[in-house]
Subunit: 384 residues, 2 copies
């Protein structure tokens, strides 16, 4: 078996497990750093290894445009191209295509849109996206889905969710056929196609999507999409509870695009195993860092001569070596090292958070741990 | 002895030696990466350690303005501030002050100038610069000197050279007095003040400067300034020959601001031991790299799908892991990792070049090695 998910311990809805892929294992719950354009922004693959990152993301839409998925295929695939030997997941571009301004035309066949780079017209179908993700060669590939604004009403959400399910069927057919071809010729590593549960903030739609997905195929894992896109937190938590009850328990659940500390903790409590978010690197490049006592922005004058590390409880390579005063200096002077060190700290912060949650699950102390953690984090927030 | 220079082998004018400082030893000839603002641009101190860099530079002028030399002193000095445990040399700001546009008024006392950041008026004297360099706490500190344009005529060059010598006397007096104070209180690590030989392209002035410097004090090492600033190459080589004959042989000679491969090799052949240059990191950020076969710019379309490393004979961490196709992609997409990897390669290239020269000197084969090296490098140049 190229893919396997085993749960080592559970506590309420939450689980600590191991997800095995052709490029290595992922201890869950896990945060996956985002390498949109075949690089986790400002970081080196060596940094990620040193921090204990196991699985990272790439983005089909962005890599299709630059440098092109066929070029990456010709260079030996995404792992080799970007120097990352561990597991990779590619998203399908659904989120990007539906987030673009400019022309966008959805039909049953697929989506016509304009490149954000040069305005050129492009057409994504489920089959075309599967081809792109096959060229990239990630371990886990996400289905192409119809993404809608977070607060869409029921009819709009139903239409998109049902179309996403039909597109999932086409993704599955396409990958299965190509897999048969590849097996005949002994080519290519196995890829796990993950479906994506949509349905907005409508519990009934989420339930129906879970049922349809489950009936369609025996999946290796599941994506949960369309959350943390502007809806109220209680609505997100309710949807996670619904999905937790409705999905089979034997595959990892990946909550797409979610990655603020409080959201990660609440989602782990509701049975989610995998997370990704661009926030840690984007915030890092902007001078903002997570700390156990809340967020801080290093550019503030108060850190000018502060000899303390970013976070005294952190053992990342930035906190072990540098003062806030030095890091602030780097930002004031627009020095590139500052972008790297703060990105590194933030990614390390979320990797550690997921590891701590994993340990708490194994020790049957997730409730107490998460209550304490959130109280300390929120306290810092209210102070700053 | 906090500072010591021993020559292990010599071949013609060139020497392979070891320069001992309070923060460690430097095997010479050596290239010193430049950390203008307390960071070698785009690199991490760990990168420098991994590449075998031994001594790095900081810049008194820039650090005085941002974050301020007193702040760095309060944070424990430059080594601790920037997380670099090895030897550091600070230049005196002479070159920067005299390169600034805007107001500049030289008197016997010092130089009045305007900050390039906010136009504020500042006044540097030899004594003030010694105080700044003491606050920074580098191992080697350069004297404050009067720098003139590269092709100045004899009277202008003489005036500046003689003023630089008088300022050297003041730098020496100031550091000696402060050293006595510090010793009385058991404070501070020893710093070696290096004089700077000026005199433009006028052999007689260079000879006179060497004589005056030698008679003034028993120095731990020597700077050679005002070269590679626009004069013809033969003029630079002639000045190096003159200085080589005129300086004592028992201290390392540092050719300030020189760092293109061909210049480094020609200078090593003329008895120079230490080099620095911002070119490797500046070029790296611009997409240009040194290779054994000449320079290339990674942004060119021809590298779009080139699976080769930047330089097939290089064992730096960029060349061991990444293709030209990947590095070009990073530059096309303005990804920060590209800036780091190309800077890293270029710095590694010059560190390796100096190491190879050292081995050639020890093997008494510098002439043959340098002829071969330059032929290969020039051949690539003429092809590109």
């Amino acid at each position: 078996m190229s893919f396997e998910f085993s749960i080592h311990s559970a506590s309420g809805a939450s689980r600590a497990g191991v997800f095995v892929t052709p490029h290595g294992s992922v201890e869950t719950p896990a945060f996956m750093p985002v390498g949109t354009l075949a690089t986790v922004k400002a970081l080196d693959p060596e940094d990620l290894v040193a921090m204990g990152a196991s699985m990272i993301l790439g983005n089909a839409y962005h890599l299709h445009l630059r440098p092109g998925d066929e070029l990456i295929r010709d260079m030996g695939g995404l792992h080799r191209f970007m120097g990352w030997g561990g597991p990779i997941l590619t998203d399908s571009g659904g989120f990007q295509v539906f987030s673009l301004s400019g022309l966008r035309k959805v039909s049953e066949d697929g989506v016509e849109f304009q490149s954000h780079l040069d305005g050129s017209r492009r057409f994504f179908t489920p089959e075309a996206v599967m081809q792109i993700e096959r060229n990239l060669g990630a371990d886990v590939i996400m289905q192409f889905d119809h993404v809608i604004p977070g607060q869409s009403d029921e009819p709009v959400a139903r239409d998109a969710s049902e179309r996403s399910l039909r597109w999932l069927g086409r993704c599955l057919r396409e990958t299965t056929e190509r897999r048969h071809d590849a097996d005949k010729h002994g080519e290519g590593a196995e890829q796990a196609l993950f479906p994506i549960v949509q349905g907005g903030t409508h519990a009934q739609l989420r339930r129906e999507a879970c049922r349809a997905i489950t009936e369609m195929h025996d999946w290796k894992g599941f994506g949960i999409g369309g959350l943390s896109v502007g809806e109220a937190k209680p609505a997100m938590y309710e949807m996670l509870d619904v999905v937790d009850e409705s999905l089979p328990g034997d595959g990892p659940r990946y909550l797409m695009g979610v990655g603020f500390p409080e959201d990660i903790i609440e989602a782990i409590r509701r049975g989610v195993d995998l997370f990704d978010c661009v926030a840690p690197t984007r915030m890092g490049r902007n001078g903002t860092v997570f700390t156990a006592g809340g967020r801080i922005n290093i550019k503030r004058t108060q850190y000018r001569n502060d000899p303390k590390p970013l976070d005294e409880s952190c053992d990342c390579s930035a906190c072990r070596r540098f003062s806030r005063a030095y890091l602030r200096h780097l930002f004031v002077c627009d020095e590139i090292l500052g972008l790297r060190l703060l990105s590194l700290h933030n990614v390390h912060f979320l990797l550690s958070l997921a590891r701590s949650a994993r340990e708490a699950i194994a020790a049957s102390s997730l409730d107490a741990w998460s209550t304490d953690w959130l109280a300390r984090y929120q306290l810092g927030k209210s102070k700053s």
